[in-house]
Symmetry: C2
Subunit: 116 residues, 2 copies
DNA sequence: TGATCGCATCGACAGCCATCTATGCATGAG
DNA sequence: CTCATGCATAGATGGCTGTCGATGCGATCA
């Protein structure tokens, strides 16, 4: 739905002094974009299922049944997570394998932490 | 708009093994609720402005002008953040002072971290 | 080549949400 | 008591979003 999204929204929001000084408009928008991608129960479960899966990756067919949603809906959520830079997509043969982008969640965690 | 919200949504989602095992439906819903409260540029800026303010608290009148939104809109966003357990409200005289709930963002940060 | 499978995209629709104006409700000043 | 101030709430509205069924498209298999 939003095709003109920046490839790595976290790049602008990363290391923002969330609790030191007021966020700029751009920083707030970037950070909100990533948080919005995660702020959905289905997408959170998708992330945790991918992360906990053997080999740290999973194809769509393995994610559809446990969530009780249709395949197009799962594909939609996965696309949102990929666009936000949280998951990566690797198509091999007929299957599309999704995996966590290393460091993506850690960067988000660091931004929200008050102790550093 | 949602009056029947749990007082501390993070209590259920906290310490959830986001990256170890698939999230339960309840854990995902709780965590998504907190993330949804933060996943808005205006609310992110509000949080950072409150945290960076002298005394770590601020009243509504000090937050309205810099954001360029009307006072009812700011009050609405602040209510969302209070309901999510991120900010606290303390009414003293005619003014309502908002402050960060200690540890709220740190708990969220810990859930998202992959290193522990 | 034709059939099947895995997945993405499209179009539609209902529900949610951010924002506004208008209004109510305390509190403090005079 | 009366009025002004600071804030919350109510109601309305336009836009966004999660979900679906239908369909398209490449890869594999017979």
């Amino acid at each position: 739905m939003n095709q003109t999204r920046q490839p790595l929204p976290l790049a602008d929001a990363c290391c923002a002094p969330l609790l030191r000084a007021p966020l700029s408009v751009g920083q707030a928008a970037s950070l909100a974009g990533i948080l919005k991608a995660l702020a959905d129960p289905t997408r959170l479960r998708l992330v945790s299922m991918v992360a906990a899966h053997d080999g740290d990756e999973a194809c769509v067919c393995e994610l559809t049944d446990p969530l009780g949603l249709t395949q197009p809906t799962i594909s939609h959520h996965l696309k949102v997570l990929v666009d936000a830079g949280i998951l990566s997509r690797d198509k091999r043969g007929k299957w599309a394998y999704y995996a966590l982008v290393p460091g993506a969640l850690d960067a988000l965690s660091a931004v929200l932490s008050t102790s550093r």
